[in-house]
Symmetry: none
Subunit: 199 residues, 4 copies
C-alpha cells in the first residue's frame, strides 16, 4: 500500500518536472533526458512509470487538468449558478503565475495535438469535462433566473470556452498585453452579455 503511494508520488514528481521543463525550455526541448535530469533521476527510470514519451506528455496534460478541476471543485463548493460559473472561469483563466504555467503547457500541447492522434483524442476527452461543467452552471443560472430568458446555452458555453482559449493564448504569447484586470473585464463583459443578473 505505501509502495503504491510512493509510485504515484514518483509519477507526480516526474510530471511536475515535465511541466517545469516545458515551461522553461519549450515542449520541443522537453526530452526524456531533460525531464529525468529535472526530476533528479535516470532516463531509464521513466520507462518504469510510463509507456513512452507520449505517455509522459499526455499524463502531464491530464495531471494539469486534474489539478485545475480540483481547484474548481473547491472553489464552487457551496456555490451554484452564476456565482459558481464565475469562480470556475476565474480558475480557468491565467490570472497568476501558476495558471500562466498551466496555460503555457496547454498551448504547447495544442501544436503537438495537431500531429498526434492520441493526443488529439485525449484533448477532446479533457475538453468535454470543462464544457460540461460550464454548461451545468449555466443551466443552473438559467433555472435560477439569473440569465436573460432567451440565452442559447450551447452558444454561451462556447463563448466561455473561446474566451478561455483566446485569453490563454494571448496571455502566453504576449504576457504584457493581457493583464489579470483585462481578463476579468472581458469575462464580466461576456457574462453581462448573457443578461446576467446576479442573484
Amino acid at each position: 500500500m505505501p509502495k503504491i503511494v510512493d509510485w504515484d508520488a514518483r509519477r507526480d514528481e516526474i510530471l511536475s518536472a515535465t511541466w517545469r521543463v516545458i515551461a522553461r525550455d519549450g515542449i520541443a526541448r522537453a526530452t526524456i533526458r531533460a525531464i529525468a535530469r529535472e526530476a533528479h533521476c535516470s532516463p531509464g527510470i521513466l520507462a518504469h512509470y510510463f509507456d513512452d514519451k507520449a505517455d509522459i506528455l499526455g499524463s502531464a496534460l491530464v495531471m494539469s487538468h486534474r489539478r485545475v478541476a480540483a481547484r474548481m471543485d473547491a472553489a464552487t463548493a457551496g456555490r451554484e449558478g452564476l456565482a459558481a460559473l464565475r469562480v470556475v472561469m476565474l480558475e480557468a483563466l491565467p490570472l497568476d503565475e501558476r495558471r500562466d504555467l498551466e496555460a503555457q503547457i496547454e498551448i504547447s500541447f495544442w501544436g503537438r495535438a495537431l500531429g498526434t492522434a492520441e493526443l488529439r483524442d485525449l484533448q477532446h476527452t479533457e475538453f468535454e469535462h470543462l464544457w460540461a461543467r460550464l454548461r451545468r452552471h449555466l443551466a443552473e443560472a438559467r433555472d435560477r433566473g439569473e440569465l436573460a430568458g432567451a440565452v442559447d446555452l450551447d452558444l454561451a458555453t462556447h463563448q466561455l470556452v473561446v474566451l478561455i482559449d483566446g485569453l490563454s493564448a494571448e496571455r502566453v504569447l504576449y504576457p504584457d498585453r493581457v493583464t489579470p484586470g483585462r481578463q476579468v473585464d472581458m469575462l464580466d463583459k461576456l457574462l453581462a452579455s448573457f443578461g446576467a443578473r446576479p442573484g
Copy 2:
C-alpha cells in the same frame, strides 16, 4: 546560360509544401526531409532558398500572414468603419478550408514560439499588424458614430483578437464543434456588444 528559375515562385512552392506538411503531420514532424519530399525536391536544395530550418518555418508563417493581409486589403476596399471591421474579422476567422489551414499553421507555431525567442519576436511583430488594423477600423467606426459612445477601443480590439485566437484554436482542435455559422454568431454578438449601429 544558367538555368532560369523563378526564385520567388520556388520559394512559395516550398513554403506551400511546408504548410501542407505542418497541416497533415504536425509541426514537430515538419522536417527538412519531409518538406523536400512534399515539394518534390532534394533536401539539399532548401539551403539554396532559405538560410536554415528556422528561416523556412518563419517564412512560412510570414507568408501565411501576408496572404491573409492581402485578402483583408481586397475585402476592405471601398469600406470603412464597422463594415470594414466585419469583413476583416470574417477574413481572420477559419470559415473555410483555406483558412482552417492557416489557423492550423498559426496554432502550430504558438507552441514553437514559446521555446524559440526569434519566433516569438516574429509573432509579436506579426501580431501588431492585425492589432493596428482592427483598432483603425474601430476608431473609424467610432468617429462615424457607429459605436456606443463609451466604447473602450483598446479593450474592444483585444476582445476581437481574443475571439480570433480562441475560435482558431477551437476550430483546429474540435472542428466539428465550431461551425462557420457558430463563428459568425459569436462575431456578431461581440460587435453588438460594442453597441454597434450599422451606419
Copy 3:
C-alpha cells in the same frame, strides 16, 4: 545496479582509436563514425564521453602529449643538465613507430590549428610545457658548466624546438629519408654547437 564501466579506460580506448584513424586515414577523414567504427562502438556513444568532436580531437592531442611527457619524466629520473636534455630530446624525436605515430598526429593537428582558434590555444599551452622543460635542463647544464659560457638559452631552446618540429615533419612526410640515425646525428650536432662538454 548500473553497468560499471571504467570511464577513463573507455575514454582512452576511444582516443587511441582516434589516433589510429588519424594515422591511417588522415585527420580530415577522422569522422565520428570512423572513430566509432575503429573503437568498435556506436557513433552515439562518443557523446557520453566527450562534449563534441573538437573535444575528442583536442583530448587526443593532450593525451598524446601527456604520454610523451610521462616518458620524459621517466627518462630524466636521476638525470640533470645535458644528460637530461639529451634523453628528453630523444623522447621527443620520432625514433620508433610509436613516436612516428605521435609525430603524425602532431603534424595533422597543425593544419587544423590554423583554422580553429580553440585548437590553436590548446597547442600554445601544450607548447609551453615542452619549452619550459627544455629550457630548465639547458639552464641546469649551464649552471653545471656543461655549456660554452656565452650560450643564449632562449635561442638554444628555440633551436631544439625547431629541430623537433622540423624532424617530425620530415619524418612524417618523407619517412625513408629521415632515419633514426640521421635524427640523432642532427641532435648531437646541435648539442655540440652549444659547446657541450658532457660533465
Copy 4:
C-alpha cells in the same frame, strides 16, 4: 593564343583565391564554394579549369612552390656557392607577410598529405626540387673551398631543410615567438657550423 593566356590567368586567379581562403579560414574551410566566391566566379566554373577539388589544392601548392622557386632563381642570379645558398635560404624562410602566407599554406597541406596519397606524392616531388637546389649550392660552396673540409653534404642539406620546415611550423603556430631576426640567427648559426668561410 590569347585564349590560352586568359586560361592560365584564370587558373592563377582561382589558385590565388584558394590561397587567400586557406590563409584566412583554414584548409578545412577551403570549400569549392568558398574558393569560387573569393574568385568572384561560380562554383561550376572550377570544373573547367581543374579536375576536382584535389586538383585545385594540389595546383595551389605547386603554384606556391613555383613562385618561391622563381624568386630563388632571381635572387641567385650571379651568385654561387655559399652566397647563393644563403639567399636561397632567406627566400625559403617566412621572413615577411608573403612568405608567412606561403608557410601557412605549406603547413596546412602537410596534414592533408598524410591522408591523401596523391598529395603526398606531389609533396615528395616538390621536395626534391628544393633538396636538389640546396645540395647544388652546398657542393658549389665546398668546391669553392667555402666549407670546412669534412662536411657531409647530405647531412648538411638535411639540416637546412629541417631548419626551413621547423621554422615554418614555429612561425605559423607561434608567430610572436619566431621573429625574422631569430630566424636569420638560426640560419647563420647553422651555416657557421658548416665551417663556412665566406669567400
